[in-house]
Symmetry: C2
Subunit: 318 residues, 2 copies
């Protein structure tokens, strides 16, 4: 069988990247249609056990922490002024503890754990879910925390392109024992809209920049405080400064595969992460609990305002 996926950086976008016109969620798997039943094992959902078309979301927000994604669903519930207080919102994936999923109005909020492999499993099953649910025009946003480079802690970085540890805008996907390189570009118009949205919130430092995605938090990101550390403080700073020069403004662990998979499957995607520290200054997060909580809420606040605008509701949170 011939390969149906591009082995290069070429994008398989079916139509122009605008808010007008319906854009389906594409799976790129010829075997799916022939399956009698599709069990989304890690989500504990299935095409025979669940009415997936009734469960779709126009907006999908994903983030590492289950608690934070539940809090985001509850926050959106209030912001969209939906019925009830949203406290009793149920985990759609309650049958598994791998991921959590909450739905409130048109917003699906899902946790993805930490790292490329963890978010990749969730994205495969989420994209199949959106496909089985016959969703169109889905916007998907990863909200998270990150380490900043050369910017003040608390700054929100909207990613224009995700880069790997070598500052290259690519995701290397191993398929069987072949390595295929995929593009990690994100939706430019969506990023600009999010930046404009951030400008309407007072005291909300936000910028667009490259995001570096690593496979490892400690040695991979130049932390001097891991169990293993074989490099000097000077080498670490040299590396981070080179990253800054290459346009990197923050570091996290999921953006390359997120950009690559969403791009291939026709999802309009963005990555919005707050920075908890400036890695040129320190390695450990020493923020007070209150400041940490306030920082972590910033991406949620921005996305809430953006979604309300898209839905034609008034712009800003009280």
């Amino acid at each position: 069988m011939a390969s149906i996926l591009p082995a290069s950086n070429r994008r398989m976008r079916p139509d122009k990247n605008t808010y007008e016109g319906k854009r389906s969620v594409y799976v790129k798997n010829p075997y799916l249609d022939a399956m009698d039943e599709d069990i989304l094992y890690h989500l504990d959902l299935g095409t025979k056990t669940h009415n997936l078309p009734a469960m779709f979301g126009d907006f999908v927000c994903v983030g590492g922490s289950p608690n934070r994604m539940k809090a985001f669903a509850q926050f959106m519930h209030k912001e969209l002024q939906l019925e009830g207080d949203g406290e009793g919102i149920e985990d759609i994936c309650a049958g598994t503890d791998r991921y959590c999923m909450f739905k409130t109005g048109p917003v699906l909020s899902i946790s993805h754990g930490m790292g490329i492999p963890s978010i990749s499993i969730m994205l495969h099953e989420l994209i199949k879910l959106l496909h089985h649910a016959r969703c169109c025009d889905v916007t998907i946003i990863r909200i998270g925390t990150s380490g900043g480079i050369g910017i003040a802690p608390g700054s929100v970085v909207i990613t224009d392109i995700a880069v790997d540890s070598f500052f290259k805008p690519r995701f290397e996907q191993v398929i069987l024992d072949n390595v295929v390189t995929r593009s990690t570009e994100l939706d430019k118009e969506l990023a600009t809209d999010l930046l404009n949205c951030s400008r309407e919130i007072p005291n909300f430092p936000t910028l667009i920049g490259h995001t570096m995605c690593t496979y490892d938090f400690y040695e991979g990101q130049g932390h001097l405080d891991g169990a293993l550390c074989s490099f000097s403080r000077e080498k670490k700073l040299d590396y981070l400064k080179r990253a800054y020069k290459a346009g990197v403004r923050n570091i996290e662990m999921e953006s390359t595969v997120f950009a690559a998979m969403c791009g291939l499957c026709g999802l309009r995607a963005a990555v919005v992460c707050v920075t908890l520290l400036d890695r040129l200054e320190s390695d450990q997060i020493n923020l007070s609990h209150d400041v940490l909580v306030e920082y972590q809420q910033r991406p949620q606040l921005l996305i809430s305002n953006f979604i309300k605008k898209q839905l034609g509701l008034c712009g800003q949170m009280s």
Copy 2:
């Protein structure tokens, strides 16, 4: 500063690999001692906020799922006939939802999420925890689920060596922007002891074999049921058969970095995974709930028997 880590496969084992003689947990980071406080951020523990030497474990068991690791702690509590019913056992890392940690008697039970990056963060912080707690002679066992190759579902595989997607016994660690190759060998004596232990349990198919560790569940493991699939059924089977020929008996997503880090830090380590399906036969897990639960308990049962033997308690579970 000169590198203090081997850039080759050379192991830095401080002494002979036997059960006799104290073996410390080694961190390999010259910066740690100079730190006034060490915050284990993803575990929500710290050297100033917790009495770490009082929290050590002689046996550490790790696995992907928080619920399963809690169930394992409760199971061990009963098997070791400790006081109380073990139901109220508390999560030591309750301040974060990244990982869960439970302690019962000499056994620490910790979840690590899915994939190499997720377990790697946990291991860095766990190894520092064991170091700060001044632990010696720690045995660490990963218990989990996996896909089998050419063996009956329900078989338990004890890993002799973890291999990557190319069937190579190595873990490639990116350090800043350098790639360092590390050994993925596990403790041979421990693996043999575990195999002998399994023979005392009736109807308990167990074998020693290579375990393949991938960065991706779907495309990386040759699943035909992901959102993306660019290869044919024939290519998939060819790949899995080549893996079998190379000695691979099961596939999971954490063993290479687990073997590499434990090896470097002087932890006696094993990987014990049950197989939920034979990947030469299918991709989707179609087991009934009861069978799935019984399979998932097999590694727990084996490790429980092993720990009881080590502690001089009678061999087998009721």
